[in-house]
Amino acid sequence: MSTLVRAQDSPPTLDDRIQDALGPVADAITSVVFFSVSIGGVQVALIVVWLIAAALFFTLYLGFLNVRGFKHALDLVRGRYADPNDAGEVSHFQALATAVSGTVGLGNIAGVAVAIAIGGPGATFWMMTAGFLGMSSKLAECTLGVKFRNEHADGTVSGGPMYYLRKGLAAQGRPRLGRVLAVLFAIFCIGGALGGGNMFQANQATQQIINVTGGDASPLADFRWLIGLLFAVAVGVVIIGGIKSIARVTEKLVPLMAAIYLSACLVVILVNIDQVPGAFGAIVRGAFAPDAALGGVLGVLIVGFQRAAFSNEAGIGSASIAHSAVRTKQPATEGHVALLEPFIDTIVICTMTALTIVISGAWDDPDAPEIEGVSLTSRAFESVLPWFPTVLAVAVVLFAFSTMISWSYYGMKATSYLFGDNPAAEHGFKIIFCIFVVIGAALALKPVIGISDAMIFLMSLPNVLGLYLLARVLKREITQYRAKLHSGEIVRTK
């Protein structure tokens, strides 16, 4: 975009140069990953179908365990089944909190705005549907993540798709396939860490900083790379410098910011309470009978599903890495807990954002298609709480930062899976990660979304294939656990 608005005679800024150099690369990657077929005149990206099919499959295959297991999941998180002798180990709550803070990021704030701007209010309905189904894929990948994790001699643990692909498939007599899929996953995971876990976050956090300092007239508008550089330094201090205290403080501030964010959503919704039925009406109507310009039902559905998958990462495999750290004798317990993650992320937080945007009418403004992502969310809040965009900027920066830290960890685990404990490789990854923060901040939104989506969705190729192949192992694991639960062999401790 910056190339379009740039005056012919003004010299290109650094931001423009980065944009010009990497924009075409982004387009190339996007067109490969999002290879689309035309169904009924709508371009349907096969990779999105791949993810939704998996979520639907596991929802049916496990007999709607995302509904049946919901209450048990809450009990587990509240520690009602915790063994007192395991006090001091990673609790279910902690594993969930860590995974959620990696998932809740700009996808929930900016991603929803992107969906509504492209697909209208109806996209929200399909986001919620995708979130509901995604609970099942999350359950599957996190159960397997714990079951096949590595416990090292020094007491640390490593888990996630790399390990269940390799060990799980080896146990089925497919060691070569397992190794190949695991390596592919690790490579794509590094890409995902640099894309959605980094560039998209840096991009939208930078955008909101510019929004609150005057928009296009902001003195910072031509210095996006500089904001990116500051982010990169902050990230670098934590992941390269090892200053863990910053990460720890962020981890504690994120839940607070999430509470503030949700409260602000509630304020906007309550102030306009009379419009809530109309908003729900628009969401449902838009889902099944959208304006033809939005690409019909299928077009809206695809937009909603795509943004939901990007936001809650179900089927992507990333959260499985974080959930694997829990201490439990029963892998299925962490699977149950993990199903809460898409619920919190997509059904609660994304829906609140969507209602705020729909109710405020910001998405219907004539210039809505031009203002993108977080700017649209910011405008929706501004209509009721004029001071809120500044608070939003703080929240967005913190969400972005914590998501970047989490994804740098996922990327690190993938790197160490590929290269072993090789300090050179680890440092290389960390430095590249910081460079991508600057690139993400400087680029326009569209190429960043393209690359981010592409990299994150690629992870789902080996991961979901592995989930299908391990489906029976998974079902056996869950069935024996639920049987013990019902027979009273596993009892509540509190």
Binding site: G88, E89, V90, A97, E151, T156
Partner: protein, 145 residues
């Protein structure tokens, strides 16, 4: 083996006095037994980073080992010097909650703690271990100054 008297211990000076006071009480009765309990403050509801989670198991082992070597073993030695025997236990959690749980598990008759130890501000906001324990205990609590 169940224990009659539970002593909640930490690194403070008052702990030493509490242990000695508990020895006096046990001496008077036949066959009474002592259990020294150290609670490492911990909550299952905190927000850790992924790297903290990854190392948590090893970290916990380390915390238990340090408490055993530097706190409980010397205190058990102190009890031995009085011609008595004490068992020891390290647990993670909320201090008052864990002491109450141990009292219940052991069927103990009383719990002894030193009057410690939190700084003024913290104590004003959260209350002290002692006052929590006094308010929630199901057996007599002896507080040693």
């Amino acid at each position: 083996m169940p224990h009659d008297v539970i002593v909640g211990v930490d690194g403070s000076d008052a702990t030493r006095r509490a242990v000695l006071a508990a020895c006096e009480m046990v001496k008077d009765g036949e066959g009474r037994t002592l259990l020294l309990v150290h609670v490492v403050p911990w909550s299952p509801f905190s927000f850790p980073t992924p790297e903290e989670n990854e190392r948590r198991h090893a970290q916990r082992q380390h915390e238990i080992q340090m408490a055993q070597e530097h706190l409980l073993d010397p205190l058990a030695q102190l009890v031995a010097e009085q011609g008595l025997h004490a068992d020891t236990l390290v647990r993670h959690g909320d201090r008052a909650d864990v002491l109450n749980e141990v009292v219940e598990q052991e069927g103990a008759r009383m719990v002894v703690v030193g009057r410690t130890g939190d700084s003024g501000l913290r104590e004003r906001i959260f209350g002290s271990l002692t006052s929590h324990l006094v308010h929630t205990a199901t057996v007599p609590v002896v507080v040693v100054p």
